[in-house]
Each structure stands twice: as structure tokens, then as C-alpha cells.
């Protein structure tokens, strides 16, 4: 049994050796290169990683040192992590799209002497901040192009490092036993990786994981979802994100399944289709984009196809989820659903590359009930999980057959969760972090005296199901001046469930009423504009179009209606809104790298707009600095309109009148 053996290996290199022994000829990694899928078995991976580790040690990498990993999902980047761990060094993955400044912060804070990077772009970025990284000594890179003329005294192609290690292993009889010693010397309590948080709340912190805890956590989840060596996952999410490291790297090593790397970031959709993964993770944002693109393409389909699609999607909404949950469904319902599967759901899943998916998860943000129901209704076993980097991901997860879109599932096996008096979720978990790197103060801040970790999320346990429900960040839940509860994220999410609204930022804490700033979704609204003969020249123009305002106002009214239905929230209805003239962007610091809005920062940046929202004016001027991808800055000026909304009668009209 795979999982029992996993329990015996207490470090990732030992797991790699186990996999090479048990599943030597099974695929460990696939990558599409020059249009052809290349495969490496576990035995091949072990051989490469051993050679790579020796090569790195010949460059001077030693036990306990840190090595930055900067790049996309490529086999060599994953092997860089493995090779570093084999030597007892600690990999520090960094988001590949981080700007030079962020990169410099992490590399300097983690004191990395080494960096394994993907290509010229990353090399250039690191070189541009070299003066802030006095410790950085050697860099290895994967993609050679454009780097030929660079000074190679401290810069090495990975291929050559691996080849050098391979030669050393052949020529020097003491090299192999030395490496075996290094692997044996690795302990479960050694740090295995430092994951820097995305910095939703200020600067990022380095979360230190250990080998044994990571493996323990991954063993639990592998068992929970019955993942085996036959499973396949597509690694397409940022390498530096806990999700990718956990779901693909750790679970892959524990279960022995195959991780496929896409050809490039643009080909993920096609690669998904070709690989046909059995385990799939997608943030709500991706699922949403996928559904939007399907819906838009269906609008352009022929009459018959369009009718058939909408009819059977209706059928799926009625019966699909119940069939998936194993509930009783009438024979006619089953027959219709079966027909729908033949004509619509099957082909649709095939196009999306989801045919073989056995377990699919979404997490990171609240997922819209309609969105969630859609995927489940066409037969995708989509579930939610809740977790965070400090917990090494899983805290709660839906169990097959017990799935509700508004909960994140019951407490995970071996995890302890409790709610503090203020409603904050606190936990103890097997994969729990050991502390923030070089930051005891912050570590002490999140730990309770009895060893629980504060998540900072406000949640409630659903009385009927026992599942956890997350409302908002605990510190973000505020109050209006009249004392009404104001959970900004709850309102923002309700707005964002409309495909036309891409991003929403709600204000109301210590204010008289709730006001929101919105971003339209260019794909959805653009397609709507095309169908309705709305002419526009730019994003800015489309965003400020009166008809677009009318359409969005209807969405806001609907949100107000649903808020009015909830007694606690009825007072938090939206009174005024505006549509921003530019998309919120991580490069401008308005979103985190994981695409979460930074409310406070946005409030400062768009101060004139906030003032206008609350002083009753009907439009406001704003000039904002924007950062282009290459780091250059420019200025965008605009006049933004503000729309007043009628609020729905609240549940207590009499009291208000009095």
C-alpha cells in the first residue's frame, strides 16, 4: 500500500527513491516540448535529480542554505526543488510574475545564495536588483535563449549543471555514497521549503514547512481522495503558491502520480484536453472564465445546437447535482440526463479536458452558487476546500456526496478547528507550519498560547450540516454608523457572481451607507456590447457607457434584493456605486499576486472617488499612475460617473419609520 510506505519515508528525497523503486517505469512527469509530450519515469527523474544535486553541490550549495526557485511549471523547476531538498538545502519558490522589487524583497529576506530560474526574463530581473542581494552568488537557468552573451562566471545552464553532476557520479566513486549519506542525513524535522505568502495583508512572510509535516498532511489528503499512482494532474498554477506545491509536488511524490507541465501558459486549455487529468484544481476565477467562454461561444452557435445546449443544461440543473450526490431521481429524469450526457455534457467536458476528472477542487475565494452548481450538474465532481499556507493547505474539504455550494466542508481528518469568541477560525493541523522565517514576532502573533493558529477568517459552523462557512476576513468585518454589520467581502462576492462584474470593492465601515467600486469584465461586457450594437473604443469608454451602467445597476439591485432578504445584512444594501475606468491590476499593487483586492490600498489610491461616493456628487475626476509590464509608468485620467441606487425595503420597515 502506497500510503503506508509513504509514512516510512520522512523526507521528499526518500520518497523519490521509494517511488523509483516501486513505480520505476511509471511516468512521474510530462512536459510538452516542441509540440510533443515528453515523459520521464520515476526512475529517470531520480537519476536526473541525483545528478542535479551533485552538480549543485559542486557549485557550492550546502545543507541549510536557501535557493530561490523562480519560474513557471516546468520539470526542471520541480527537479530544482527536489535536488535542493536532496542536499538538505531549502528551496524558496518565488512567483514568476513578481516584479523585480518583490523578487528582491524575498531573495534578500530569505538570504538565498543561489537561484534556479527559468529564463532570460528572470535572470534580467534578478540582475537589475543585484545591488540589493549581496549574498546571491550563483544562478542556474533552464531556457538558454538570449543568454548566450551573458557573463557566465556565476551563471550556469541547468543542463550543464546536471551533466557535470552526472560526470562526477561516474568518475568519482565516492560521489554516489556521499550523496546517499546526504539523503540519509535528511530528517523529517528539517525544513523542506519556505513559501512566501502572497501578501494580502502587507508584506509577504516566509512560511517554513518541514518534511515530516508536509508528508503527513499530503498522506491524509491522498487517502481522503483515494489518489493513486494511476492519477494524472496538470500543474498550471504558480509554482510558488502553496496549492501547486501541495497538490502537485507533495501529493505527486506521496501518491506517485504523474504531474504534467503545460507547453506554455497560453496553451493550458489545449494541454488540459490532451492530458485529460484525473485530479484537477482550479480557482473560482478560472472556472468562471471557462464558463464565460463556453457561454459566449454557445451564443455564436447554430440555432439547433444552441437550443439543445440550453435545454439540456436546464435538465442538468434539475437532476445533475442530485444524481452526482446519489439521491433518488425519477426514471424520466435519469433518462433525460443520460441523453444530455450523450449530446451535451460529455462533449462539453471533452472540449474542456475534464472527461477523466475524478476529483476536482476549487478554493481561494468564495465560489458563486450558480457557477458551482453548473460544473457539478454536468457531472464534474467539483468540491470546495478551505485552508491556508500556514496550515499547509487543507483545513476543511467536502466529502464526496455531501456537497453544498455555500460551505467549505467539514473539518478535515486529523485537523482541529475551533471558533474564537469573535468568530475567528483557529486550527491545529498535521501539516502546520513551524513559524515565519526570521520573524518570531509575527509567528507569536498568529499563534494562540495553546498552540492554535489564528487564520484571521471569520466563520460559522452550519447548524444543519456541521460544515464550516467562511464569511469574511475577521478584521474586515466592520459596522456602519448605525451599527449594522458590514462584511465587505460577502457583498463583493455577491456582486462578482455576475459574469459582467469582474471585481468589486465595497466600503461602509464607519460610514453612513455602503458604496461600491466595480470593474466590468471585458470579455463578458464586450460580447454583450457587440450583440447590442454598443460602440466603444477602449476599456475606459466601455466602462463609462450609460447602457453599461444601466445593466450593472440591475445587477446591483438584485444584490440589494438578496441582501434585504437576510435580516442581519438588510441594512448593508448598496446605496451608490461607480464603475472604475481601469482594471485593477497586481502590477499597480491593487491586487495581490493571487488576485485578491487590497481594499485599503485602493481606498488611498482612489481617494477622490471615495470622497465623491459619500458627498453626493454625480461624477468625479481621477488621475492614477499605472505600471506597465516592463516597469515603466504612465498616467491615466478619467471622469467617472456615480450612480444612486434605490434600496429594497428592509425586513423591519416599521422600526425604520419610527
Amino acid at each position: 500500500m502506497a500510503t503506508n510506505a509513504a509514512a516510512l519515508a520522512d523526507t521528499f528525497p526518500k520518497l523519490l527513491i521509494r517511488n523509483a523503486k516501486l513505480y520505476g517505469s511509471r511516468p512521474s512527469m510530462r512536459h510538452k516540448d516542441l509540440g510533443i509530450w515528453q515523459t520521464w519515469t520515476w526512475a529517470e527523474a531520480l537519476e536526473i535529480v541525483r545528478a542535479y544535486a551533485v552538480g549543485l553541490s559542486r557549485l557550492g550549495l550546502k545543507r541549510g542554505e536557501t535557493i530561490a526557485i523562480v519560474g513557471g511549471n516546468r520539470p526542471k523547476m520541480y527537479w530544482s526543488v527536489m535536488a535542493a531538498q536532496m542536499l538538505g538545502a531549502v528551496p524558496v519558490p518565488v512567483y514568476a510574475d513578481a516584479v523585480a522589487d518583490e523578487l528582491a524583497f524575498v531573495l534578500a529576506h530569505a538570504e538565498t545564495r543561489y537561484a534556479a530560474v527559468e529564463d532570460q526574463e528572470q535572470v534580467d530581473k534578478i540582475m537589475s536588483v543585484m545591488d540589493r542581494l549581496p549574498k546571491l552568488h550563483e544562478m542556474v537557468y533552464d531556457e538558454k535563449r538570449g543568454l548566450r552573451d551573458y557573463d557566465h562566471t556565476h551563471l550556469h545552464p541547468m543542463e550543464e549543471v546536471i551533466e557535470d553532476g552526472r560526470k562526477a557520479l561516474l568518475d568519482d566513486p565516492s560521489a554516489a555514497p556521499w550523496l546517499d549519506e546526504q539523503i540519509a542525513a535528511g530528517k523529517g524535522s528539517d525544513p523542506s521549503i519556505i513559501l512566501y505568502t502572497s501578501g494580502t495583508t502587507g508584506t509577504s512572510k516566509g512560511v517554513v514547512m518541514t518534511n515530516a509535516r508536509s508528508i503527513k498532511a499530503a498522506t491524509d489528503t491522498v487517502e481522503f481522495d483515494h489518489l493513486t499512482v494511476d492519477d494524472v494532474a496538470l500543474a498550471y498554477l504558480p509554482l510558488a503558491w502553496v496549492g501547486d506545491h501541495y497538490l502537485n509536488y507533495c501529493q505527486g511524490l506521496v501518491a506517485g502520480f504523474c504531474t504534467a507541465c503545460p507547453e506554455s501558459a497560453d496553451t493550458v486549455m489545449q494541454d488540459l484536453r490532451e492530458i485529460g487529468p484525473t485530479f484537477y484544481f482550479a480557482p473560482p476565477r478560472t472556472l468562471e472564465a471557462l464558463l464565460t467562454s463556453v457561454m459566449i461561444r454557445m451564443e455564436d452557435a447554430g440555432f439547433l445546437k444552441r437550443k439543445m445546449f440550453h435545454y439540456f443544461i436546464g435538465v442538468a440543473r434539475k437532476y445533475g447535482d442530485r444524481i452526482l450526490n446519489g439521491e433518488r431521481v425519477s426514471p424520466i429524469g435519469r433518462l433525460l440526463y443520460w441523453l444530455g450526457d450523450v449530446f451535451v455534457y460529455g462533449p462539453l467536458k471533452n472540449v474542456l479536458g475534464l472527461t477523466r476528472v475524478r476529483v476536482a477542487y476549487t478554493a481561494g475565494e468564495a465560489v458563486g452558487p450558480d457557477l458551482f452548481a453548473f460544473y457539478r450538474s454536468i457531472g464534474l465532481n467539483l468540491k470546495q476546500l478551505y485552508g491556508q499556507t500556514e496550515a499547509f493547505l487543507y483545513l476543511t474539504a467536502h466529502r464526496d456526496g455531501e456537497i453544498y455550494s455555500d460551505t467549505v466542508g467539514p473539518t478535515f481528518p486529523n485537523v482541529e478547528i475551533r471558533l474564537s469568541e469573535s468568530g475567528e477560525v483557529q486550527f491545529k493541523s498535521p501539516g502546520m507550519f513551524t513559524g515565519y522565517f526570521k520573524d518570531d514576532e509575527k509567528t507569536a502573533e498568529v499563534l494562540t498560547p495553546d498552540g492554535f493558529v489564528r487564520t484571521g477568517d471569520a466563520g460559522v459552523f452550519d447548524e444543519k450540516t456541521g460544515h464550516l462557512r467562511i464569511i469574511d476576513r475577521a478584521k474586515d468585518v466592520g459596522k456602519l454608523n448605525d451599527g449594522t454589520l458590514f462584511p465587505p467581502k460577502y457583498i463583493e462576492n455577491k456582486l462578482k457572481f455576475f459574469p459582467n462584474i469582474r471585481e468589486a470593492v465595497a466600503y461602509g465601515d464607519k460610514r453612513d451607507f455602503v458604496a461600491v467600486m466595480l470593474n466590468i469584465d471585458l470579455t463578458a461586457v464586450g460580447s454583450w456590447a457587440e450583440r447590442n450594437n454598443v460602440v466603444y473604443g477602449s476599456y475606459q469608454e466601455l466602462a463609462q457607457h450609460p447602457l453599461v451602467y444601466d445593466m450593472i445597476a440591475e445587477h446591483v439591485a438584485e444584490v440589494n434584493r438578496s441582501l434585504a432578504a437576510d435580516k442581519v445584512m438588510a441594512g448593508a444594501q448598496i446605496k451608490r456605486f461607480l464603475i472604475l475606468h481601469k482594471e485593477l491590476d497586481a502590477d499597480d499593487g491593487e491586487l495581490t499576486r493571487t488576485q485578491k483586492v487590497r481594499r485599503g490600498f485602493i481606498a488611498d489610491r482612489y481617494e477622490p472617488l471615495i470622497t465623491a461616493l459619500y458627498d453626493g456628487s454625480s461624477e468625479a475626476d481621477i488621475a492614477t499612475e499605472v505600471t506597465f509590464e516592463d516597469g515603466r509608468k504612465g498616467l491615466i485620467k478619467a471622469r467617472v460617473k456615480i450612480r444612486d441606487m434605490k434600496t429594497e425595503p428592509t425586513a423591519r420597515p416599521m422600526e425604520k419609520a419610527a
Partner: protein
């Protein structure tokens, strides 16, 4: 670690192509008059000038599309007064066009594959079969094409008909098709025209990489002066069909005749 040295690092060698005293007229209109310049191996050579200066005519003369009435062209040591387009193509000159000229209904892959057709030698009968030498040849060519696709980072649009692609990507596919010929001399007619800043930067990067990676000599026409000054090793300036300056970007930038031609001069 040292920052990379500039793009001009490619070894610039002997003269690859020289144009001597070339004139071209259409009826009474003098498109090019008595122009001489050379292009050296491995360099990036820009041809600039105001509208109607005769830049595109010059490119068309180089690749044999126009026959000059006077003067001679020496390519790889061989002088000739007239060169036919197919001779230019066989000789190793490839080009892209000011207005994208791709097969719109074909995929990006097929378009680039078309660039390989000169290099395919097996006859029609072998090509009818799904086995044998023609198949083998096709596989080899496909491999080269995939390398170009990888080089230009257009894996995502491999199977997309080019008519459906945005303009910037079409330009990239066109560059890919020209590269598929493995040219010694690559002529780019306004490769950045109509692009936004980001696309221009991408394209500049590709032009530099082509020059660096494949050692291809490049002659380009471009209106964006920033791009020209950043990319090229030497610049020749035409105005009303006459060469008014020739030299490094810095020399040309400070040349009074060039400044007058671009900004106008009081008569």
C-alpha cells in the same frame, strides 16, 4: 555578474549584399536614384526615411521583385543587374511584408510550414504516400518548424487559422514563415507598424534574438525611431529616392540633412 552587453555584440563581418548606383523609375517617377550602400554579414541594418522616400522600393529591388533600370546588386559575391524573386529566395533572402501577407485560412503551423517548401525535395508522387522518404522529410521539417514556434512563443496558436489572430500575432507568424526558410538575409518591412507598445517590445526582442541566435543578417524598414535607434547597427536614410545619410544610429541622428528631411526646412 555583469549585465549583458548590447545587441551589437554579433560578429559583424564581410559585405553580404551591396547595392551600387541603383536607380528605379516608374514612368516619369523616380522611386530610387543612384543609391549605393551595403549590408554586412550579421548586422542589423535599418533603412529609414519619410513617407515615399523609396524604402519599400529598395527592399523590392533587393529581393528581386523590381528590376532597377540602372545599377547592380552584389549578393554573396555575385553581381547581377537583375535578380528574380525565386533566385533571391533560393539564394537565402526571406522577407515579411508591410501589410501582412499570410494564407488567412490556413493555421499558423501550416503557414510556417509553407516557408519550408523550398527546402522540400521529394517529388509529388512520394508526397502522396503516408510512408517513405517524403514522410521522413516532412517530419524533419516539422521539427524545424516546431523550433521556430517555440522560438517565437506562439505554441498557443499553432492550430488557429491566422485570419482569426490579432494583428500583432499575425506579424509574428509572418516572421516565423520567413525564418522557416533559414535565410541568410532577412528583410523586414515595417515589422512594428500598427503595434502597441508591448507588442513592439516583444517584436524588438524577437528581431534581436533572431540576429543573435541564428546569426541572421537583417535589413529592416521602420518608422518608430526609438526602435530603429535601439535595434540597428547601421542606418541608411533615404529621402525622395536619394540617399542622404549612412552610418551608425548616433551619426545619423545628428546629421543635418536627416533632421531637415524629417522636420522640413524653411525655403
Amino acid at each position: 555578474m555583469r549585465a549583458p552587453s548590447g545587441p551589437a555584440d554579433v560578429a559583424v563581418g564581410d559585405v553580404l549584399l551591396s547595392v551600387e548606383d541603383v536607380s528605379l523609375t516608374f514612368g516619369g517617377v523616380k522611386a530610387v536614384s543612384n543609391v549605393s550602400f551595403d549590408i554586412r554579414k550579421g548586422e542589423i541594418r535599418a533603412i529609414i526615411g519619410p513617407n515615399g522616400a523609396g524604402k519599400t522600393s529598395m527592399l523590392n529591388i533587393i529581393n528581386g521583385f523590381y528590376q532597377p533600370q540602372q545599377g547592380s546588386i552584389t549578393f554573396k559575391g555575385q553581381a547581377r543587374s537583375r535578380m528574380r524573386p525565386y533566385e533571391a529566395a533560393f539564394g537565402g533572402i526571406a522577407r515579411t511584408f508591410q501589410n501582412v501577407a499570410l494564407f488567412r485560412g490556413m493555421t499558423a503551423l501550416d503557414n510556417i510550414m509553407a516557408g519550408r517548401s523550398l527546402k522540400m525535395h521529394k517529388n509529388f508522387f512520394w508526397q502522396l504516400l503516408r510512408f517513405g522518404p517524403a514522410m521522413h522529410e516532412e517530419v524533419e521539417h516539422r521539427k524545424r518548424v516546431e523550433e521556430i514556434i517555440d522560438f517565437l512563443k506562439i505554441q498557443g496558436i499553432r492550430r488557429t487559422p491566422v485570419g482569426r489572430l490579432p494583428y500583432g500575432l499575425q506579424k509574428r507568424v509572418e516572421l516565423g514563415r520567413a525564418l522557416a526558410m533559414e535565410p541568410e538575409l532577412l528583410l523586414l518591412d515595417e515589422p512594428m507598424a500598427g503595434m502597441n507598445l508591448e507588442e513592439k517590445e516583444d517584436m524588438s526582442r524577437f528581431v534581436l534574438d533572431v540576429n543573435d541566435h541564428f546569426g541572421t543578417t537583417i535589413a529592416l524598414i521602420e518608422h518608430d525611431m526609438g526602435v530603429v535607434m535601439d535595434l540597428s547597427d547601421r542606418v541608411v536614410v533615404l529621402d525622395h529616392g536619394i540617399k542622404i545619410a549612412d552610418g551608425t544610429p548616433d551619426e545619423v541622428k545628428n546629421n543635418q540633412a536627416v533632421i531637415d528631411a524629417y522636420l522640413g526646412v524653411a525655403h
